[in-house]
Every structure is written in structure tokens, then in C-alpha cells.
Symmetry: C2
């Protein structure tokens, strides 16, 4: 059952994590081809102790390939995934391009593994914030029903890629020493600052009408609504998201406020989440210690804690969720899909 | 109408800001006494070009003083404010100690200025997150009524004081250069990380029963509920807060989701906030630029933007609010109270 694998975008933050997870999980690999832009072609990347040379991505890159893991951006997937499928490969796509395509399953293995079977060559990996929210939310949805979910995110630099992570550190070092700094990756000052998520925003003007998010929302927020509905297979789910980038290096945090349909309690919610696949309860209430980005960076599960009753409304509860954006939020989820194939 | 003023905690972040605002606003000062712990006594601080020497705070420090601005922590205010009142001074207290005392008015000048008249020697300044939320919320409460308010905070290092701000920068510089760092102020890694607010948390155990927050809440969160009710003079207000410390230097951000009683629209909300005292609408939607901590640091107003309809629930809207925690969140509000006296 060994596979011939190609990775598109092997030099990026997610690409690097894909390689490390393939190695850790001893994924059965017959051959491994690293594909990237012309600019990155010729670079060498270590895998299982050997140097692999990055090749330039072309429409002819996929001969003999069984599985493509693609994470080089939506337009690359749009242009090259069909060529890979035509060559007989299955594509697990980490970008947003195919996610809402009705012919493409959108999969979180702990939530809707059976949707994988419906694929026609492409399977989409959801957005990081959606994956992280879905792991604790789905078992609660099954147990108590969701009246409404309100979520505020605290998103790390890793969501903007490896260069953004480097830029955050360099900017923090420079400004922390009262030196000037010139940004090239992130549009606003990021060190010691934050900003509502810089994904394309729909201001209602005609020029932006191609944006699928409703007026006033940015795409990152609307993904949390539309993707959650598709993954759960329930268009009636009501999610109210606010997405914010914070100067954290890696791992996204989410403050999730949930009104349930059925009456429940803090104890019952802990009991459901204690058994939830891919979810770990991590907390030390006596020391006021709840999941933090540094606790979960590099780890596979999504970490949950600080479950409390919202006293402002009947049957409403708060949970605090932190997950490694690069691992479960992207690379790990993609490889779990590939393992199920 | 010149006053004899004493400042308790003059060497702290808020104390420093008090001095700079007194100077900027040309507050009528007959004499100025700087009081601090024995440790800080003897230090000199510049005010209007002159060096003032910090004196040790004792119960006899208040002879002839008309106005005390106190920001050295709750236990200091608890111990020394009564001595100041006995000596004939009015105390504007920046700490949490007297805020919920029914004999002490809790005042945001733009919201409940008339409450100042009810004082019996002490007037309390609300918590920073509460002040910042109250400025846009109060005119909306008057215009449309509040069904329920859900708020997630993104709180800066300044809320933990000047030493925490320095520590955040030093830690970011050290970890950004792969050096180790030893924290002494903040309990968790703060650089490139975040954590639910470290104010005392009520885990329901007996040892913590003195904490006034309900089970599962930290004190910072419960202040946003109880203080808002007291300032607005309406015990029926429902607020659902989640407070988080983020590695931002100065200025708190708040994502506020509001369900109104009366039907309204994004346009009507903008119109109300455009006229709201102490509130400035700051946004550039075409560039996806909304209020950010670096935009508002050192500024007096609370900045609001990104008002959008929450599509998950009837008559519900999101607003994004950022205010300088040291100025309007503390020092400026205290001096506005003093000006009204």
C-alpha cells in the first residue's frame, strides 16, 4: 500500500510540517516528489536523513503520482490540481480554493470521515480556525444541539506563513530595542500590536463583489460559518465569528460561547469533551493555568479548558480552545485524510 | 480654584500618565505632592520642568491636601484613602477596592457624571476594560436598549503595569534571538504567547471563596459585569465577558457583540457613535484598516470601527473597540472626574 507522493509548496510552513508528520507517522511512501515555484526549484530539503531536491511545479509533474498534498495557495491549487487528477492522483488540498465546491468533500477526519468516500479526485482540508473549532464543537453538537455559537479568535503569525513568523520575531526584536523595522509580509505593525484579520474584507463596494463573505465580514470569518456548516452537514448552524490576528508565533486560540438546544451543565460538557476524539482537556484551575499557545505548539490534539456557565443567558457556556495552527489546523489534518484514503 | 494635590503611586505606569495629563490639560495646581512606598521615596520625578521628590506615603501625608489621585493598588487605597478623607481631601481612586462599595460612586464622566455629587470623600475609577466598553455602549444602550452583550477582550501588558510592559519587550527580544529569559512579573510566558486573564479566578474551592466573581469567572471578567451595571445604574444589564491577555504593549481591544432590544441597523449605530462623547470612529474599510493598539496609544478617545450585522441572530451587531488602557482606561478618566469636582 506504499504510495507515490508529491507535495506542492514543500518549502512553506505547512509544507515543512507535512514532511515532518509524514516521517513521524511512518506514512508508507514509495516515492516522494517535492514541487514548488521556479524560484524555489533546486533547493534541497532533508527527509528521513536524505537530501531531496525541490522540482519546479508544472502540469506534467504528476505522472505516476498517487497522492498530492497541496499547500502553495489557492491559485496554484486551482491551476494544478486538475492536472494531478487527470494524471490519476488524488489531491488533498490545503487551500481555500475548492472548499465550498459541492463536488469536493471538506473533511475533518474526527467529524465527517465518511465524506472522504465521495471524492472525485480532490478532497479539501478546511481552514485552520474551522478545524480547531470543529473538534470540540462537533461532539457537543451531537450531544446537546447548537442554538448559536459566537466565537472570537486569537490567531497566530503561523496562519500567514513561515515568513510572517520570522517577520514577527524580527519586528519584536527591533522595536523592543527601539530600532526601526521595515515590514514586507504583514500589512500592519504586528509587534506589540494586533488587528482584525487581514483576509479580504467585503465593504459592499462593487470592486470587492467577488468576495463571498457577506458585507462587513472578512473571508476568514465567513469560512468559520460556511465551512462548519458543510463539514457538519447542517446548513442551519448559526455561527457568529470575529477573527483577530495577535502577535503570537504559532497556535490559534478561540473563545467560544455556545448556547445549546438541550439543557446541560459544565460537568456534562467536560464529560463529553473528555471522550472527544482529537481533543484533550488541559487545565490547572488552582494555578489559573489554561491552554496557551506555547503549551500546544507542535502538538497534535486540540486543547480545551476553562468551561464555564455564561450567566447572561439560559443554557449558554464558554469554552477556551487552543490548537496548533500548522499541525491539526493544516498539515496533520491533511495527512489524516490521506491515511484514510 | 487651584488645588493642593497628592498622587499615590506616582512612579507607576498610571501615576506617570496622571502627571503627564495634569500637565497637558493645565489642571489648576497649587501644590503637588508625590507619594509612594518607602522603597520609591527620595526618587525625583520631572513635572513642568521641575524635579519633584517622591515622599514616603504615611497616614499623615494628607494635611492641607484637597485632592488625592490614588493608583498604587487596592490594599494601599484601602489603608490610606480613609486617612486622606479624614484630613479633608477627596480621593479619586484608581484601584478596585472601593468600586462596588454602595457609598462610593463609580464614575465614567461621559456616562454618569451626576453620580460624582453623591460622593462622601471617595470616588472610584472603574476598571480599564469597563471604561473602554462603556463609552460606546452607553449611547447605544440609551438609543436601542441592550438585550445582551457578549465581549472578548484582547488586553495589553500596560494593564499589569510599567514593569510588565518592560518585561514583555525584554522577553520578546530575548526569545526572538533564541536566548533564554527569566520572568519576574508575568506568571506565564508572555512573548509570542497569550493566556486567559490572570486575575484571581474562582474555581469554586473554599480557599478562594473570598473572590467575588462567580464560579468559573476571573475577577477581571466579573468587573465588566458588575461595574457596568453600577455605572449605567441598571442591574438588569446582561454582559458575558471573556478576558484574555495578549502580548500587546499598550491599549486594550474589545470585540463586542450586542443584541439590541429595539430594531436598528449598521447605519443607525454608526450615527449614534459618531455623536457619542469620548468616542471616535476610526476606519479605512478599503484598506481593511480598523482601530489597532498602535493607532490609539497615547490618545484620549476610545476608538470604534468595523460595525457589522451579526447574521446569526436577529437585531445583533458586532463592534470593534480599542482604547488606551493607561489614558482613558485609567489616568485620563480619573482626571476628568477631578475636573468635574
Amino acid at each position: 500500500m506504499s504510495r507515490n507522493i508529491a507535495i506542492i509548496g514543500a518549502t512553506g510552513a505547512v509544507g515543512q510540517e507535512l514532511l515532518s508528520i509524514l516521517e513521524q507517522r511512518q506514512f508508507p511512501i514509495k516515492s516522494l516528489k517535492l514541487l514548488a515555484s521556479k524560484r524555489s526549484a533546486g533547493k534541497t530539503i532533508k527527509f528521513k536523513g536524505k537530501d531531496l531536491t525541490v522540482e519546479e511545479l508544472t502540469h506534467d509533474s504528476f505522472k505516476g503520482i498517487d497522492l498530492v498534498l497541496s499547500s502553495a495557495g489557492g491559485s496554484i491549487s486551482r491551476d494544478y490540481a486538475p492536472s494531478a487528477v487527470k494524471a490519476g492522483a488524488v489531491v488533498v488540498d490545503n487551500t481555500s480554493h475548492f472548499r465550498m465546491d459541492p463536488n469536493v468533500p471538506l473533511v475533518v477526519p474526527e467529524v465527517n470521515p465518511l465524506d472522504i468516500k465521495k471524492h472525485k479526485g480532490i478532497i479539501a482540508n478546511p481552514n485552520c480556525t474551522t478545524i480547531i473549532m470543529s473538534l470540540p464543537l462537533f461532539p457537543l453538537y451531537n450531544a446537546f444541539g447548537l442554538e448559536r455559537v459566537s466565537v472570537c479568535t486569537y490567531q497566530a503569525a503561523s496562519g500567514a506563513g513561515a515568513l510572517a513568523m520570522d517577520e514577527l520575531k524580527s519586528e519584536c526584536v527591533a522595536l523592543g530595542q527601539n530600532q526601526t523595522f521595515e515590514r514586507t509580509v504583514i500589512p500592519f505593525q504586528y509587534a506589540y500590536n494586533l488587528f482584525p484579520h487581514n483576509a479580504p474584507y467585503n465593504d459592499g463596494s462593487e470592486a470587492k463583489a467577488k468576495v463571498k463573505a457577506p458585507k462587513g465580514y472578512c473571508e476568514e470569518e465567513w469560512k468559520m460559518v460556511a465551512e462548519t456548516r458543510k463539514i457538519f452537514g447542517d446548513e442551519s448552524i448559526r455561527v457568529a465569528p470575529t477573527c483577530v490576528r495577535v502577535p503570537v508565533l504559532r497556535a490559534h486560540s478561540e473563545a467560544i460561547n455556545i448556547q445549546f438546544k438541550k439543557k446541560t451543565s459544565v460537568e456534562e460538557i467536560y464529560a463529553v469533551l473528555a471522550k472527544a476524539p482529537g481533543v484533550v482537556i488541559l487545565e490547572d484551575p488552582a494555578n489559573n493555568h489554561w491552554p496557551m499557545p506555547v503549551d500546544v505548539s507542535g502538538k497534535d490534539p486540540v486543547f480545551v479548558g476553562r468551561i464555564r456557565q455564561d450567566l447572561s443567558q439560559e443554557n449558554t457556556f464558554d469554552i477556551w480552545v487552543v490548537g496548533d495552527q500548522i499541525r491539526k489546523g493544516a498539515a496533520l489534518n491533511a495527512i489524516q485524510i490521506a491515511e484514510m484514503l
